[in-house]
Amino acid sequence: MDEYVVVVYPDDRAVYLDGQAFGRTGELLTVQRGTHTFGLGLPVDYRPIQQSVLVKDTSMDADGRKKVYFEKI
């Protein structure tokens, strides 16, 4: 059960999925269906610090991907 996520942030930054480094912002992340926490690498110039997201029923195409947004502060 693969699901597709893009983490949106103005800069290129490491993504943390459930506490572990997992790909980068702006690229297609292939994750297993379910609840995950997303965060970004240093420096901590973004918010929220971490967000818990249920990822399901996504697809590879632009409209079907789950987008997780982080705001630059």
Partner: protein, 477 residues
Amino acid sequence: MKKSEHLPAQARRRRLAPVVLLACVLLWAAGCAHTASLNQPLQRFDAAAGYRLDNLPKGTNSDELFVILAFSGGGTRAAAFSYGVLEQLRQDHLVVQGAKRRVLDEVDVISSVSGGSFTAAYYALFGDRIFDEFADRFLNQEVQGALLRRLLLHPLNWLRLMSPYFSRTDIAAEYYEQHIFGGASYSNLLARGKPFLVINATDLVRGARLEFTQEQFDFLYSDLLPFPVARAVTASSAFPGALVPITLQNHPAGADYRSPPWLTLALQDRDVNSRRWERALTCASYLDKTNRPFIHLVDGGVSDNLGLRGPLASVESTDWDWSLRRDIQNRKVKTVVVISVDAKTEPENTWNQREKAPNLIDVLLTASTMPMANYSGETATRLVEEFDGWQQQGCLYRALRAHEPGSYPPSPFHDVKFFPVHLCFDAITNAPRRNYFNSIGTNFGLATNDVAQLRTLGGEMLRNDSEYQRLLTEFAK
């Protein structure tokens, strides 16, 4: 008047001495015969320490090519079949990052069950020594007979068996330790480096796969490093009925213990990802120290006779320490090879040729092993289907991205190449030959000729496998 009444007190005491000595020996033997506490508690919790893939010395093994071997159960038949595959992997070469290497040296993980665990553990511990020693030490040994002799002919073992904490499984573990694995522990495995050994057993109460890795032992607040490899192999091959379960102590967690972040998230996922939720439920059950202070383990084949469930979870999920999916997303791994060595047999069955129904024992035996065989078959099919699916998705995604790069961002997962290899007796085209291999029993004492034939078959099947040939061609220069 009895003669003894005339004896002085000193002489009577002398006469009683052997009885008292015997009683002492009995008590000592029963007292010593307590093996449940062999798994030591952690001194302190560190989610990054211990026997984990990332902690192994890398050696010359490349990162971008990730090779997994999965050795099935099936007694010496499985051990010899998988040994033949290792022999072939030693002969073949790949060119990785400009360097020519044996395929064997590129193996990253061996996941094993029951009989396959003997070959897997021996190679992981001793490397190429396996090719000089293993046939004499194990494959051509009448191990079953030797265990039976230990059980029946050693009076000390009769005494030890009187303890409720000592069983014939412990006798097997001691034999494996003395004659095969030489007292090696997981510390030795860690020092040795790749391949990472994942020995699989089954948690009898949950019916779930339990692997001998520190990640799994963290839930038991136990340190895997001092644990004897022989005992892990014994648990992996403790076929219900033939051997009794191996017991692990589920130690109380220290105040420093932290469960992995995915666990609480996955426990919310019953309706969206039941497989993930089920895994989380099993892991969470080990944190219930009150109701589960002991964990009883039987043959890994009861939950996964191919040793493929771990590798599959690693490609599908990011929950575990050794997550291939994470390594792929982080652009560390670019090619994944899984070689599943499946020694399952399908002996000829003539029940339908006679009116008389099969007897109770035959029915019970079939009923207890058939679900396992079906489940294994389903796992192997799923692996190949998943890999095919990812391969096709990758082709599609790359085509879309080439056409419309602005709409399709980079996707490391879709750039990966997968090579699934499944070796099994079903694929033997010559019927008499197939029947011969299907008729080899599941035990730990095969005829030398059977062992030789299985070794030859393992190498031959791997050589002729189309996916394996595709791999060799892909990495020819």
